[in-house]
Each structure stands twice: as structure tokens, then as C-alpha cells.
Subunit: 454 residues, 2 copies
């Protein structure tokens, strides 16, 4: 039986980064990655396969950096694991033994099996499979009336991309009051609805799908709980993902209530020498300290770097301090980003907070060509002034601006420090130094804290 | 004699922000701002008046927020100050008394009086004066062959803007090896030359102007030390700015060697109740601890906020911790940014360092429309891994990305912390989470530190 010092199951972002980082730190240790499909995809790039990218091959992602670092890759499917004996068995029949085993098995779309008609032809999901997505693109190109179920990031992005085809009608059905309502407060989320409508998406919020109706086994309309019937030759369900942990469960690993693999802050499971990282592993909120359900490639890769550096020996004494859930997207050319707590999550987590807001333009003077509106709201702990969250709406630059807030949260920066934060500003790139939006939002929060205290 | 609790001399960014912040903190205190010209300009927007903005009025900036907060404004020129009596005299003859006096007198262009022909007609500078700049725009519109002296930020930006007119020839003469060579290391600065050339600027580096030659009192050619003669009906000198401190000197305030007003970390001068802020005041490098010559609106406003919060009573116990010099610009659609130490300034300041570099694209996958190359280099203290500087080249988003580095420097964040930094990433807005450029540059620095240590 062939042996590897380290075997990684899964070739997504967390598998690749754990592999690269771990192998670079431990060049004399043998690493194997087992993945089910030859070709992989940039997960967050999937919606853009449907329009902005000419060809799915442009969204390819593979373990090349891991291979370059000296790791081996095997295309196969692990079907059984014996944790006591430290061996595993692949679908091909091959058996392997390992020193350390890493679950990086990711997540899979939730199938809307509670819906009548969910198994009709042309009722699809968005799995992270190259061949599936290639097939779905063909179906989208052929479709005339598409219904997307779920207005989270994936649903909103897919609907936006399909709406870019003048010949197609797209309807987006969202249960909550606004799209992106999990990551943004209502005053920001409403702008998602607005921008989706502006690009031609028929956004139906506070509505759900009651039934999918087909003809000859293929979907041809969607009945909503509102009673409305929407003609549709293609339905894409984007109602969420669940951790891909059946194998882990069968192997006897402890799972959380939500089905993720229980891990500690070094990504260690309850079994010696077995680790889990990325979407399949438990995450704990940085702000709330409670288990949450964040599945983000950026979170997964942060975990993966920590695991990679500390896998064989604790090398960088840095544990995963909890998920910050830093989100961003762009709809109709307007960018949305949030980090840490928002009002709803602060309420739900019983976190005391005040907000600080500011609105401006993202260039200065605002008359410069291409200038876009910018809105910012931060969430601040009134006791000590620490920034614990933020949301920004505006032009492309806010995709990096949210990372200033993300770093501020992770380093426990207060609004008092932030008001004298030295920033770089430039007419063509940012708001004015006299009213740099993040600083102005901090000043607003300070004045609210002062009012509360008096 | 009319009395004000606080009088601010100057209506640029530092005057305005000191006024707004101070007045808001102390609503019962009377504030007066004395400024020489009715209309003001966004200083960093000046180059864009020459092309990108249709009209100079689009780049107007005034003390409206200060007035709104309850401050008074007087258009006049302070010509004399009696610090003992706490009075000042204006050009109009009016005398005023004050409780606290703030110098926010800014900076003025260095006149190239060492050059023969410097006083010819159509030899211009870039002062921060509305009427002057309005007149200069007329001259630029009329000119055919423009020579810009000095390839720092202002010179490079002005040359770039003029080059956007197809009918005009622009030559930029820079003494150093590359344009922007003060703020960027040679491998980044060379990209400034490249982009200026790409947009049509005749960039002549390692060259200086020997003489300006005129006819009938108006410039018509420029002789370089290389011997080359360049036909020119307009010469714009952008060789630097000097602090506007004649008045302060006459009033008896202590100045530094470089002519700035000596201040402590709360912006207090050597005289009780007299303060100085912005370009006219001394700055001390955050990294080197030595007096430097940074004149940036973003630095000025950071100082101004500290002064405003602490003017009447020390309210936010936060002193100015030294200038970080965070720069950014855009040339030919490519953005340049730097913060803190670069290789040259680290060498000059006797600072031990290693670098960490990475190159990528600013979207993921890179095939997405509008994706731009991104290059990053950070400067790291090898002893403890602290990030002490960085440079980035790429698309517009790096204008905010540099502020992540700026915050990291100000909060003494190490590369070890940064490798597990949770970032927001999105295909249309940032590099990929698997290779977020700043994290990759940190990994590169870590590997260099490890090599050095072994």
C-alpha cells in the first residue's frame, strides 16, 4: 500500500492553498491531493462564465502551484476511510495510507427537493463542477425565460449575468424583503434590488416558489406563492450550499448541528492527525463567537494558510480567530461590500453597537469623469469605540476599501484612532482627503457615542 | 478691537478641517478663518483642471462645512502678528485679537530663479490659486509646445493631462533617473516613464534645464544641459513647493532648517496658544523619526483632525505619530501608490529591511474584461516582521489597496499576522482569494526572513 505523509481530499481553494503552503514549509514531506474531477473552476468566477467570460476555460483553476511545489495529484474519489488504520480507499479500488489527512471537501448546492417539480429537466443548480457548468451555459444560451430562485450572492450574480443578454427574460425570486439581505442592512440591500432591476431583472422579493410545472418532463412554468405564474424554460436554484461531509461522517468525525466538521482554531478535528478546512469545516464568528455558516473562498484560504503553516509543526503561532465574513459583489456596475457585523447580525448576536454613516463620491472633485456615488456605514462598539463591521456601496474601488475595514476589525482599531488615520487619496482614485468617507463615518460614530454618553 | 477665541490663517484643507473639527467640538467657541482669495481649489485636483475637467469651477473648494458648523470667514491678508498682545493686523487695516492662533498657511511653488530666463513671460508655476490656475489653463489651451520641468507628482500629472490634447507636444524634463523617483523604487518608477511616454509625453530623464530663451520677453525655447534645444511657447515649472512661513517667521515662531514651523505632536508651536498645521508645519517621519518634507493634503487633514479634536481641551488622546507619506496617482490609466518606507528611504534612514513582492492581475479570472496587471512590493522589518512600507502598481482599486498597507503600518501589523488576514475578494473587483497580492507579498517576505535567519 502506497503511503503519503499528508493526503488532502479535495482540490478547491482550501485544498490547493493548504497543499501549497504546507508543502513549501515541509519540502521533505510527501503530499497527495485527491480530487474527483480533472478540471476545476474558480468558484466565485462561476456566474461570469454565463456572460462576461467568452469561454468556461477562462475560469479554469487547478492545483498547478501545488504540483510546482512538489505535491502529487490523483484524480479519483475517496469512498472509505479507516481512521484507526490511517488508510483510505478510492473508487478505483486503490488503497492508500497516510500520516495526516485533510478534509477539503467543500460544499454542494442545496437541492430544492421540498418543491414539487424539482426533478424536472432544466431545473438546475450551481455546483462547482466544470462539466456541469459548461452544460448549464449551453442551456442558458438556449433559454428564453429564466427563473432564478434565491437572491443571495450567487443568485443575484447569475441573474445579472443572464440579464445582460438582450434576448432573455430573467426573473429572480427572493423570500426576504431584499436581495443580498443576509450580508447588507436594508438601506444597502435595497440598492441591490434597484441595480438588478436597472439591468432588466424582474426582481420579485418577499415571494417564494410554490411549484415547478413541466411538460414532457421539462420545466415550462413556475408557480409562486403569490399566485403568479411565470413562463420559464430554465430554472436555476441558488438557495444555498451545504457542507460536503458525508464521507467525514461515515469516517466517524464529529459534525456540528449544521453538518460541518468540528475543528479547533488550528483546524484540527476530534481525531488525531485529521484536519478539516474550508467550506466543509466549522466556522466561528469573529464578532459573535458562535458557530456560523460562512462559506467563502477568502475565509477558506485564510484557514488554509494557517493550516499549511502549522500542519507539521506549529510554525506561525497564529490560530484562526473566527470568520469575519467579508463579502463583495458588483451588480449593474455598482459594487457592494460588507465586513464583520451589520445591524441585523449585531442584533441577532446581542452585540451593543452604534452606526456611523457618510455618503460622497469616489473621486474628487466629483465632476471628474467616471465618478460614482459612495455610501458607507460602519458598526461600532460604543463602549470602547472599536469598529466591528461595515458596509460600502459605490464604484470598483470599494472592493479593496472594505479590506481596510476588515483589517481594522481584525486589529481592533477604534474610531478614535481612525480619525487620524493617514490615508492616500487622489482625485482619480478616491474621495477627497478632507472627507475621506471612512474617516467621516468614524466621526459620525464618535458624535453618536458622545450623545449616548451624555 | 474684535476678538475671536480661535483665528485660523489659511483656507486650504488643513485650515478647513481644523476649523470644522474644532468648531464642532467647541460649539460655544468663536472661530474665524482668514483667507486671501475668495475662491479656493481642491489642491490635488489642479492638474485635472487642464484637461479632464471641463471647467475650473468644477474643482472649487471652499470653507462651506466650516461656515455650516458656525465659523466666520474673512477674505483678507494677515500682514502682521503681535504674539505677546495676541493681536493681528490685516492688509485692509483691520486689527483683531485672538485667544488661539492657528497657522494653516500652506505652501507655495519654488520659483526656479536659479535659471536664466526664469522671469520670461509664459514661464509658469502651479500655485494653489484659483485665478492663477484659471489663467494658466487659457495659456495651456493656446500653447503648442509645452515643457514641464520636474517629474514629481505635479509635473507628471500636468504633463499627462496636457498630452491628452492631440494638438500639443509636451516634454517633461526630470533630473533623476525616473519620474516619481522620490516615492517609488526604480522598478516601479520606470513604469511612470513608460506610461507617460505611452500617452505621448516626451520624457527626458537624467537631464536638467540649463536656460530658458525668449523673444520679445516671452519664452520660445528651452536649452537642456544635454545641449538639446526644445522649442517651447509655454514652460511650467514643477520643481517643488516650500512652506509659506514668512509671516510666521516675522511673528517670531521657531522654524526648522527646511523652513517649516516647528511643532510638537499636538501641533503646538514654541509659543503658547499658537499652532501650525498642514504644509507650513514640520512633519516627522513615522518610520525614520526624522524631520521630512511631506506636503500632502491627506497628511495635512490628519494633522488637522488631531488639532481640531484637541485644540481647546485634549479630547482624544491621540497625538500625531509622524507622517506616513501615502502617495497615489494615475498616469495613462494606470495607478501608482506607495506608503511608508521604500527601498531608497529605508537605506537613507538606516532602516533594516527585506522586501516581499508579487505580480498578478486585479480581477479573477484574469480573462475578465478590464483586468489590469498588478504589482506589489512591501518593505518589512526582518527582526519582527512588521510591515513598514509598500508600493503598488495597477488599476484604480490600488488607490484604496494602498490604504490597507497604510493602516497595517500604522497599527504595526506583521507579515505573520497578514498571512491569515481575512479579505474580501470578488472576480470583478479584486485578485483571487488564493493569491491575494498583499498576502502573497507577505509570504514572499516571510520566506526571505527565514532564509536570512538560517
Amino acid at each position: 500500500m502506497k503511503n503519503y505523509d499528508v493526503i488532502i481530499i479535495g482540490g478547491g481553494p482550501s485544498g490547493i492553498i493548504t497543499g501549497v503552503t504546507g508543502k513549501k514549509q515541509n519540502p521533505d514531506t510527501s503530499f497527495l491531493m485527491i480530487k474527483e474531477e480533472e478540471k476545476g473552476l474558480v468558484p466565485c468566477g462561476i456566474p461570469y462564465v454565463f456572460h462576461d467570460l467568452d469561454d468556461i476555460s477562462q475560469n479554469k483553476m487547478g492545483p498547478a502551484p501545488f504540483v510546482k511545489a512538489g505535491g502529487d495529484v490523483l484524480i479519483d474519489k475517496v469512498i472509505d476511510i479507516d481512521i484507526k488504520r490511517k488508510t483510505l480507499k478510492n473508487a478505483s479500488g486503490e488503497e492508500l495510507s497516510y500520516g495526516k489527512l485533510i478534509f477539503a471537501t467543500g460544499s454542494i448546492p442545496t437541492v430544492p427537493s421540498f418543491l414539487k417539480g424539482y426533478d424536472l429537466k432544466n431545473v438546475e443548480q450551481i455546483p462547482k463542477s466544470y462539466d456541469y457548468i459548461a452544460g448549464l451555459k449551453e442551456k442558458i444560451l438556449a433559454a428564453k425565460n429564466v427563473v432564478v430562485i434565491g437572491g443571495g450572492f450567487i443568485g443575484a450574480e447569475v441573474a445579472e449575468q443572464i440579464a445582460k443578454y438582450d434576448t432573455k427574460k430573467v426573473t429572480l425570486v427572493e423570500m426576504q424583503k431584499h436581495c443580498l439581505g443576509q450580508a447588507f442592512s436594508p438601506d444597502f440591500a435595497v440598492l441591490a434590488d434597484k441595480n438588478l432591476r436597472a439591468i432588466g431583472v424582474n426582481v420579485l422579493t418577499e415571494n417564494t416558489v410554490k411549484e415547478l410545472v413541466g411538460k414532457d418532463g421539462k420545466v415550462n412554468s413556475v408557480i409562486l406563492t403569490s399566485g403568479e405564474i411565470i413562463e420559464s424554460d430554465l430554472v436555476i436554484s441558488a438557495i444555498g450550499y451545504k457542507p460536503n461531509t458525508d464521507l467525514a461522517k461515515r469516517a466517524g468525525l464529529q459534525l456540528t448541528k449544521s453538518g460541518t466538521i468540528r475543528v479547533d482554531k488550528f483546524m484540527r478535528t476530534n481525531e488525531e492527525n485529521v484536519y478539516a478546512v474550508g467550506d466543509c469545516s466549522q466556522t466561528i464568528g469573529f464578532i459573535t463567537g458562535r458557530t456560523d455558516h460562512i462559506m467563502l473562498a477568502s475565509t477558506a484560504t485564510a484557514e488554509a494558510r494557517i493550516l499549511g503553516y502549522n500542519l507539521c509543526k506549529i510554525g506561525i503561532l497564529r490560530a484562526f480567530s473566527g470568520t469575519l465574513s467579508v463579502f463583495s459583489t458588483e451588480l449593474n456596475g455598482f459594487a457592494f461590500a460588507s465586513a464583520g457585523a451589520i445591524e441585523q447580525s449585531a442584533e441577532a448576536g446581542n452585540v451593543e453597537y452604534v452606526t456611523g454613516s457618510f455618503a460622497d463620491v469616489d473621486r474628487h472633485p466629483g465632476a471628474l469623469p467616471g465618478a460614482k456615488e459612495i455610501r458607507i456605514k460602519i458598526i461600532v462598539s460604543p463602549k470602547n469605540g472599536e469598529i466591528i463591521g461595515g458596509e460600502i456601496y459605490g464604484g470598483k474601488s470599494i472592493g479593496e476599501m472594505i479590506n481596510i475595514i476588515a483589517l481594522a476589525i481584525q486589529k481592533f482599531v477604534t474610531v478614535y484612532e481612525m480619525v487620524s488615520f493617514q490615508v492616500g487619496t487622489h482625485p482619480l482614485l478616491t474621495t477627497a482627503p478632507t472627507k475621506y468617507s471612512l474617516i467621516k463615518a468614524c466621526e459620525d460614530a464618535i458624535s453618536k457615542i458622545n450623545c449616548k454618553q451624555r
